[in-house]
């Protein structure tokens, strides 16, 4: 009867939950105190937290190898937002639709819930959130009497105007991530959205509006060809562009919110001179969700842990210590709220890995000028139509 009263357990019945997560770069690390708090609320339960490998590709490989093995050895997993549909379709995640109350679901940003929904069911709870946004040099724009651009064309025109006679004067126009990796797909997707199209259309059709997509991609190539974006963009990722902008080397930068703190830190060359604005067409949704492994031996307790970690107090604690933003609009820094509201998820499909891996070399060839944008997209479409099955 005592056991039926719920909660209280004898100490030697200790249940061990394992949480797998990316290392959080925070000072101090916010996770251990949260886990200890959970343990106090649930006597008899111990939570072990095990970090994942550093890079996203290696994390994905780790998860695939372990989850396929049926007894993965962890209960709660932190997933990059783009993996949720894939893992759900593979049957590795617990269906959370019944457990997750609608009232709580509504407090999260809709884009984050959309990213975790497959087949009308929900498979993960949003934990931390990222949105692509536009950084600009407020001092330079003000000197030319310009307001932050609302379209990519306006951005290019402003960049040209501010940098004057072109690059070579130590100031570049627009920095973005053009290396052959996932970041490139994100950047080009943002261009597609601004042009009013997308990668997958209704019914899962690949590149539904080829003409608009081609023009958007051609525009990105033109940025490089005309020197509005420097050649280094072709080999650059988030960190390289962040550092170049942070040295005062560019007018515009497309990046994630984490860079803001670094620009405003003491000793930064651009301190107090950086403004933020939403990207034309909306910024891509990044971040991570928490899911429960279908093979967990303690699904109810694991779900409680997910609920606890995704609850407002925990999200706020994490945001305060790291730079990882909460997924609930009410908790987001007011200065970022408009930008976060415009977040758009990347195509929510179990085939996102295939999509991205197929697109990356083609997009890279297009922005490098090796292939025409029309050819690159045609080649990509041909392969994607071949790989992706009928209903997507």
């Amino acid at each position: 009867m005592l056991a039926a009263c719920g909660g209280a357990r004898a100490p030697d019945d200790a249940v061990r939950l394992v949480l797998r997560h990316s290392r959080m770069v925070g000072d101090p690390d916010p996770l251990p105190p949260l886990l200890r708090q959970f343990e106090r609320l649930h006597p008899g339960v111990r939570v072990a937290s095990e970090p994942l490998p550093w890079t996203a590709d290696v994390q994905h490989q780790f998860y695939v190898i372990n989850l396929e093995g049926r007894s993965p050895g962890f209960d709660v997993l932190m997933l990059d937002v783009i993996w949720v549909p894939e893992f759900a379709r593979a049957g590795w995640l617990l269906d959370l639709s019944e457990r997750w109350r609608a009232a709580d679901r509504a407090t999260h940003a809709p884009a984050t819930v959309e990213a975790a929904t497959l087949g009308g069911r929900v498979w993960a709870v949003p934990w931390v959130m990222n949105v692509g946004l536009l950084y600009y040099r407020s001092d330079l724009l003000a000197a030319h009497g310009l307001a932050p651009p609302r379209t990519y064309e306006e951005l290019a025109a402003q960049a040209r105007r501010v940098t004057g006679a072109g690059p070579g004067r130590g100031l570049d126009g627009f920095l973005w991530q053009g290396r052959q990796y996932e970041g490139l797909v994100v950047n080009i997707l943002e261009s597609f959205w601004a042009a009013g199209t997308d990668l997958l259309g209704p019914g899962g059709r690949v590149l539904p509006d080829m003409a608009r997509a081609r023009d958007a991609l051609a525009f990105r190539r033109e940025l490089l060809a005309a020197g509005v974006s420097p050649a280094m963009v072709l080999g650059a990722d988030e960190e390289q562009t962040r550092r170049a902008f942070g040295r005062g080397g560019a007018v515009f930068l497309r990046n994630w919110p984490y860079a803001r703190e670094l620009f405003e830190a003491a000793g930064s060359a651009v301190r107090g001179r950086v403004g933020i604005a939403p990207l034309p067409g909306g910024g891509a949704l990044g971040g991570a969700h928490l899911a429960v492994s279908r093979a967990s031996r303690h699904p109810d307790l694991a779900w409680r842990l997910v609920e606890f970690l995704a609850a407002p107090p925990a999200q706020q604690a994490i945001a305060a210590a790291t730079g990882l933003h909460p997924t609930r609009p009410a908790l987001v820094d007011p200065a970022l709220r408009e930008i976060f509201a415009g977040a758009r998820p990347r195509p929510v499909t179990p085939w996102y890995q295939t999509l991205s891996a197929t697109l990356q070399p083609e997009l890279s060839a297009a922005v490098a000028g090796v292939k025409s944008p029309a050819r690159a997209l045609a080649d990509a479409e041909r392969r994607l139509e071949y790989f992706l099955p009928g209903p997507r």
Partner: protein, 269 residues
């Protein structure tokens, strides 16, 4: 014209030694000076990168994994290979020529062709992220090579050696143990060295079948070397040299035997 000859030799040495030498210098350059465009040579030498790699990186564990896999593969290939080679070289084995042809052909199989089925096999057996997965995968190229080389060595031995043993009353196995094996030992050692080197340097299988530091070998750890924000060139240089050191040392010290053993195989028609 003599100076031309010397100049050519020096050029050869420069071409092949300089890049490695530069990497050694990089591994000893202080972090702050690595990206400094003003200076070419470091102002002082430091062991900070080696300390970082040995104390705080996945490399030491990875070196252990590499050693285990390389030794395991060599042991398996040598054990099975010498026994099988004797059968192929000296005994009336049914279908010997076909088997020999198959073995020689399989040394040319590209790893990319076998990696997907081996992946499914390793997954099915639950061997992912273990040493055994890599030992088995590496054996796929080590064993045919061992069989081929050692059979060649054994065949080139004069028959009188074994016949003398038969006269003394030894059977085939006795002859193998007391006469043949000692005679081909230098060649077998050279072949074992080649196997060890190939298994140590192997990358494709190691990258595909390992998931964590539990089984990741040194080349894979080097390829995935962690860097949170900046790329730690100095640490990577130190890690690269530590990963490359064992094969280089092995070859340097046992160069003469290695060369002799290899040439015996390559020049033999």
């Amino acid at each position: 014209m003599r100076w031309l000859g010397h100049a050519l030799v020096l050029a050869a040495l420069a071409v092949w030694v300089a890049p490695v030498g530069w990497h050694v210098v990089t591994s000893l350059t202080p972090e702050a000076e690595l990206l400094d465009l003003g200076a070419t040579w470091p102002s002082r030498l430091t062991l900070e990168h080696y300390r970082a790699v040995v104390a705080a990186s996945p490399l030491p564990r990875a070196l252990l994994n590499s050693a285990a896999v390389a030794v395991g593969t060599t042991a398996l290939a040598t054990g099975l290979g010498t026994l099988g080679a004797y059968a192929l070289a000296r005994l009336p084995l049914p279908g010997r020529r076909a088997i020999m042809l198959g073995i020689v052909l399989s040394t040319a199989f590209p790893a990319i062709a076998t990696v997907a089925p081996l992946y499914l096999m390793v997954r099915g057996l639950g061997l992912r992220d273990t040493w055994w997965a890599l030992i088995l995968a590496d054996t796929s190229f080590a064993l045919p090579l061992m069989l081929w080389l050692v059979a060649g060595f054994m065949r080139s031995l004069p028959r009188e050696l074994e016949e003398a043993a038969f006269v003394d009353g030894a059977g085939r196995l006795g002859a193998l143990r007391h006469v043949v094996l000692p005679a081909v030992a230098p060649g077998v050692a050279a072949a074992a060295l080649v196997t060890f080197l190939s298994a140590w340097n192997e990358f494709l299988f190691a990258y595909t079948f390992t998931a964590t530091e539990a089984s990741r070998t040194a080349p894979v750890a080097l390829a995935l070397f962690p860097g949170v924000f900046e790329v730690p060139w100095g640490d990577i240089a130190a890690a690269a040299l530590l990963t490359g050191a064992p094969p280089v040392l092995v070859v340097l010290f046992l160069q003469r035997h290695l060369v002799r053993g290899l040439l015996a195989g390559a020049l033999k028609e």
